[in-house]
């Protein structure tokens, strides 16, 4: 799955829920090792957009490619038709996703959550998966929580397990859907620290929907502002925060900073 082009190439992505147009032609390219933060008011389509990237939502127009592979669809005589479930699952395995509400598997321990996909999707031997899973949980600072069920973990710990679970598949691209907005203020920092380490030390390619501007300033290579189903402005964080071009961006930033 390696190629020299961008990790993500989205072109003119449109999405409707019934008569509501949520995405009105979104195009975005993300290069290897790049960290892109997506901000925008609620209802601007940022969450829907990243859900489209791993085909948790079907798209109505446009195309999305990850590492040069079309996501969710096949081309058949010039038209896009939905791909088989097996192929979609295979594509999703290359894309990690961290959800706002963690969505850990509550009937499995932290370690079991992390090794579930490597053993049952990739077919990695259990010993090997456990070894890697432990290393991942250690990396997110949960070396003492291998055998703890999610119900006994704090929100911040759960989200770090969720990050380890996504990393366990060695994804080419990590998607974060407002990873800290369901967390208590005092544990937000521990999750952001893990994400910073991924971005700055590991060089993980990431798209992060977030309103944590401190994180964005430190870790983002590029800021993307969405409004009303479109990307209205993008640029490097320094420039973006200090002298935004669009009036809409200025107003939004003045509210959240």
């Amino acid at each position: 799955m390696s190629s020299n082009g961008p990790v993500l190439r989205a072109e003119g992505v449109e999405k409707r829920f019934g008569r509501l147009e949520v995405l009105k032609g979104v195009s975005l390219e993300v290069n290897p090792r790049e960290v892109v933060c997506v901000i925008g008011p609620s209802g601007s389509g940022k969450t829907t957009f990243i859900r489209c990237i791993n085909h948790l939502e079907k798209i109505d127009a446009g195309r999305i490619e990850v590492n040069g592979h079309l996501i969710g669809y096949r081309e058949r005589s010039g038209k896009l038709v939905e791909d088989t479930e097996r192929n979609i699952a295979r594509q999703r395995a290359e894309i990690g996703m961290v959800f706002q509400r963690f969505n850990l598997f509550p009937h499995k321990t932290a370690l079991e959550n992390v090794i579930e996909a490597p053993t049952h999707v990739r077919g990695i031997a259990k010993d090997e998966a456990v070894r890697q899973g432990r290393a991942l949980l250690e990396r997110v600072g949960l070396a003492d929580k291998f055998d703890t069920y999610p119900g006994k973990l704090s929100g911040g710990q759960q989200q770090r397990v969720a990050i380890a679970r996504a990393l366990a598949m060695n994804p080419a691209l990590m998607l974060f859907d407002e990873p800290t907005s369901a967390l208590d203020p005092e544990v937000i920092g521990e999750v952001l620290d893990v994400m910073k380490a991924l971005a700055l030390d590991m060089g993980t390619t990431m798209i992060v929907v977030t309103h944590e501007m401190g994180f964005a300033r430190e870790a983002a290579d590029r800021m993307v502002m969405m409004d009303d189903g479109r990307i209205i402005e993008e640029g490097p964080p320094l420039h973006f925060f200090d002298s935004p071009r669009e009036e809409r961006t200025k107003r939004f930033l003045s509210k959240i900073l």
Partner: protein
């Protein structure tokens, strides 16, 4: 009035059951267990069919529930046992069914089939509700790590749905043990049949029916204890608080409906 009751018979039936009775009790147990198992399997298949993308499967699942929940069980039992013979003139279920390692009375086999098929229609709704009760984010999380639908269903969603399915399933089995008495009408001498036969030869209905009611109560109580154990075990991984033995016994005696706390 009470003087007319022969307490000795009641005493004997409860404390000194004969081997004919024990055989009848055993029949009630195995008919109920096998019919319930069949019901769960059919219910699961029908529930998964109902969620299929393929319309004919959804239609079939709907028709199944419509017919088997909408007609009397006793009619279904008669049709399963005699239907093929009366309608088409061939015997579908022989007098004795040979499974190789053991043999089973044909009527008992037909009874299990009919009870199980009927139960499947109710179990479909219970299993579907259990699957629906699992947070949608679970399926999404499973898909996001690359699990195909079936694997995600089997490894992630269904194990969690079990927690919602077990309490009503327990009630269904409690019902099943009593409802299985209907197979007496196709000639299976189970617990109720045994009492019916004794009563018809002695004309002492009160003694025999009180005794059989007592034995059904024993069955359902034992089951309630087992069920409470199962539910407690299921809860352990998700909640820390385990019930003590006294609480389990208390819970087992409470009306079944009150124990469905914990389901939303």
């Amino acid at each position: 009035m009470l003087a007319a009751v022969d307490w000795h018979i009641l005493w004997q039936r409860i404390f000194h059951p004969d081997h004919v009775f024990v055989l009848a009790l055993w029949r009630t147990i195995y008919i109920s267990v096998l019919a319930q198992t069949l019901g769960v399997v059919l219910g699961l298949i029908a529930a998964l069919m109902r969620m299929s993308r393929f319309f004919p499967l959804r239609l079939l699942s709907g028709a199944y529930v419509l017919i088997f929940r909408g007609t009397p069980l006793i009619v279904q039992i008669f049709f399963v046992y005699f239907g093929a013979n009366l309608l088409f003139g061939f015997t579908l279920i022989p007098r004795t069914v040979d499974f190789g390692v053991f043999q089973m009375d044909g009527a008992a086999f037909a009874g299990i089939l009919a009870l199980g098929i009927n139960e499947g229609a109710y179990m479909r709704e219970i299993i579907r509700a259990g699957i629906d009760a699992v947070d949608r984010g679970q399926m999404e999380a499973a898909k996001s790590v690359g699990m195909p639908y079936r694997l995600a269903m089997r490894r992630i969603v269904l194990p969690q749905a079990t927690r919602f399915i077990i309490p009503p399933l327990g009630n269904e089995f409690n019902n099943m043990m009593k409802t299985s008495s209907l197979v007496f009408f196709i000639g299976v001498t189970e617990l109720f049949g045994d009492a019916e036969i004794r009563y018809s030869t002695t004309f002492k209905p009160v003694e025999y029916f009180l005794a059989v009611a007592f034995w059904y109560l024993v069955l359902t109580t034992v089951w309630s204890l087992i069920q409470a154990q199962i539910e407690r075990k299921l809860a352990v991984s998700e909640r820390g608080d385990e019930l003590t033995f006294r609480e389990r016994v208390a819970a087992a005696w409470l009306p079944a409906a009150m124990r469905i706390r914990g389901t939303p």
